[in-house]
Symmetry: C2
Subunit: 517 residues, 2 copies
């Protein structure tokens, strides 16, 4: 794809054909300007097969806004749509609709509320709420889901890996295995969710972070092919990067060659007044090798150098490595706690692709239509009750318990405010037998989650810095019960409806069923 | 990311930091212009957990070439690199290296051979071979892998899904769940590997294919919220798209509401002289519902209308649906063969993310260094023998058996030609006990797989059209044994070394081990 083609494929036509077909249908019927509301939410946490998430980290909003602010129908897009024909050769889109697209269509006519990036989020809770003309809100669907689903997926995986790695330094290395240019969004999401740095140079630059890296096996191979050896390669590296010297020690043999050579070079650096950064292990039994590496480095007096682990790591593999270190390090004369504090994780493929669950099922559902000034809630019933969206205008509240921990997210009707309720009834979203009551006194804080982002073409939201987004993430995680954060079989966080919203939902399900009969 | 930032993040800095660190090291040592060879290959077929591929479909080359031809170090990139500092505040990159990057660095100095897109490919076989100055070939690694790994992964999944769907029409619908803008590369790869069309408007336009789609549940919901019903929605759709009328019938109740309403509208269309396209089922028991839909449509005289299935389909789910149709259709008075021929598959999430195996482990390994005009083979040994790359300059041959089917891919040294061998010895790449012999008479055809693509800055390859790439894929699949193509437990296709290449590999492993001792 050349540059011009890329502009086409990533501009306003970065959408599904049926969005345009439906928009024209609405236009023909005079419904295209009717004000509607779509909610964006996901229904289930990522399920990685043998483990699943108990929370997600919201991400992607800022890049969606960048897209929103530039995507519009250019003359070339309109000409292309004009050329589309149906099976009988008749143009699919007529001139009056195309003229409307070119002259009247702008995302600036939409209003957007959203939960900020970095926040802990849960199923069924609207993460973004779009109001505006039907045809415009409809065409936004695909791109909105594309931008928000993937970044939230990856921020969530990064948070889990960070949790598993006990908060040690986490480096994102996945560019070569990412899904094409989606790598950049993935690196950003990883940095929001838990990675400290990325190896990806371009996106690090854009985000204002230094990119991180060491060297590849090929560097040692070049030296060997030229009749030199690993030690020469390490010396050359230390010579060029005396204060950034991190050596990959597994090209030939980690314990017999790589580590002794690295220690030799580190000793040389030390004599010259430099402090070596550490070593990287990229193959073999990482738990065993990291213990042996720590032992050898300790014996040489390098007790602070990092030990970077890489090679298809994810949250379970890191957990396994740490468990084995706890069990075995002492036997080799290494303090497991001290070793764990010097570990750094380089995570590539399994973070940037969210291994085990490479997609988040975020959806964008019509929940209300404004007819002659009156909002009418809309519903789409499903055979699976958990899939039926929550209708109408809603507020989203987070309730904190006496310890200040988040205890439930509550969806209410627009005119409800749980802080005015003596007893807050939390009704499960689909199971009528499940409800819980909280006295106002048990609730320490009630926080609305949605903020105004975009109001008829104006950004009314101060986009936070990456650093602020990461702080937000850490604050939310600090206020989440440990049971919800654990990697295996997490506690189910409560997402609930107020009784009035529950009743509205049941009423709409009933009347829809009757309408079909 | 705004437009300027995107240019930065997808240009020459779309790479890992360590590529730049290593390039500078080579520059300092005067090795940066040394001619080297890197081979790109993957080691294992995608493993989807309970099933795995027996072949891959090669894809991504044309878009890599687009990137290659425009990526260069701009002044802004150089300024950014100049601003990078190490832990002590010292600049990481010095002026002389940066001057070289800006003035001398160009991918035009590389030579590239590759296996064409659309071809069936196997592990260990070099899919692309890069020769050129060490620092330049090194910096290419990340982007090359990013472009080729993902498209090959998705083309492979698409081929499997097409195989499972018995070659019926296959539509790619995954944009909303794809990994950000990687969606476009994914759609292209799906179209190479087996999808007939995509819902993605922009990339379809760029590739010269019509995008396909129908309508969403929300269209029916809008009508219902405004006091109308599903039938009104269907009528409106038929009115606007009388010759493209494909109706989604599961918004309320597939059998009680959606199908009867669709048939009513189809009858109205028929009376007006139009031929309805079909219906789409997007939830529930797709096998059962498609049988019932076929029955109802047949009874109304619509025996040719398509039945489009969607909802998290993949190769196993399609296989299950077809199995159930074969078992049950007759009982409902529906001919299973006739029903299967009217099915169309809309595949989204699980195709564009390669569900079960969301990454392909393609690697880029140094295999030779040219020193004073002599090529020296290079190796990187691994504890796992299957991971040790095959060294040196090589040819790649495909051998076809008496029936004209591909029977093995053979890697040979540069000066070997299997057509000159009376007996062709096929040695397994890592297991010394596994070898097979073929008499020349048993071999119907011997085909070299690598073609010259890029020769010192000149494209010396006619990039085939998408249609030609797809024909190439189909030809290769037609010449592949059924056992290799099957979805579960495929036969292992033979990828072999000539005895001379095997001996070189063993010799290098031995001498590397000695060097470390």
């Amino acid at each position: 794809m050349n540059g011009v083609q890329q502009k086409t494929a990533e501009g306003i036509l970065f959408t599904d054909q049926y969005q345009l077909s439906m928009a024209q249908l609405y236009f023909r019927l005079g419904l295209h300007e009717k004000t509607v509301q779509f909610d964006h939410f996901f229904r289930d946490y990522p399920d990685y097969g043998y483990h699943r998430a108990g929370y997600c980290i919201n991400a992607g909003l800022a890049w969606l806004l960048d897209w929103l602010q530039t995507a519009r129908f250019q003359a070339t897009d309109i000409n292309y749509l004009r050329s589309q024909t149906d099976r009988t050769g008749v143009p699919i889109f007529d001139d009056s609709f195309l003229t409307w697209l070119q002259n009247e269509f702008t995302f600036e006519r939409l209003t957007l509320r959203a939960i900020p990036e970095g926040r802990v989020v849960h199923p069924h809770v609207p993460l973004s709420v779009v109001q505006g003309p039907l045809a415009i809100a409809q065409i936004l669907e695909t791109s909105l889901l594309n931008h928000l689903n993937y970044q939230t997926l990856i921020a969530t995986k990064a948070a889990r890996i960070r949790e598993s790695g006990e908060g040690q330094l986490l480096l994102e290395f996945g560019l070569r295995r990412a899904h094409s240019t989606g790598a950049n969004a993935g690196a950003r999401a990883a940095l929001i969710g838990g990675a400290d740095f990325s190896s990806n140079v371009g996106v690090s630059h854009v985000l204002g972070l230094p990119p991180k890296g060491t060297h590849a096996h090929s560097m040692v191979q070049v030296f060997m092919a030229l009749g030199m050896g690993e030690l020469d390669a390490f010396r050359a590296y230390a010579d060029v990067y005396p204060d950034d010297c991190l050596l990959l020690v597994d090209t030939i043999d980690t314990l017999e060659s790589g580590l002794p050579h690295a220690i030799t070079v580190f000793e040389e650096l030390r004599r010259k007044g430099h402090q070596p950064v550490g070593i990287r292990l990229d193959s073999g039994d990482l738990a065993y090798l990291s213990i042996q590496a720590a032992k050898m480095l300790n014996q040489a007096g390098f007790t602070d150098t990092s030990i970077v682990l890489s090679n298809d790591l994810d949250e379970l593999i890191i957990w396994q490595i740490l468990t084995q270190i706890n069990q075995e390090a002492t036997r080799f004369g290494v303090d497991p706690a001290q070793l764990r504090r010097r570990l750094v994780y380089g995570v590539g493929t399994r973070l940037i692709t969210s291994h085990g669950s490479p997609s988040l099922g975020g959806v964008y559902k019509l929940v209300a239509v404004c007819d002659n000034g009156t909002w009418i809630p809309a519903i789409k019933i499903s055979e699976n009750p958990g899939k039926t969206p929550n209708p109408g205008h809603k507020h989203v509240w987070r309730l904190y318990d006496g310890r200040g921990n988040a205890t439930a997210d509550l969806l209410s009707l627009d005119d409800e405010d749980p802080s005015q309720m003596e007893v807050i009834v939390l009704q499960h979203v689909s199971d009528h037998t499940k409800r819980r009551e909280l006295n106002q006194a048990e609730v320490k804080e009630i926080e609305p989650l949605l903020v105004d982002v975009w109001d008829e073409g104006k950004l009314v939201y101060n986009l936070p810095s990456l650093e602020a987004i990461r702080e937000r993430r850490q604050q939310d995680l600090n206020r989440l019960d440990t049971g919800v954060k654990r990697i295996m079989n997490p506690h189910i966080y409560h997402v609930s409806l107020t009784p009035r919203l529950w009743d509205l939902k049941q009423h709409l399900i009933e009347s829809t069923r009757n309408q079909s009969g």
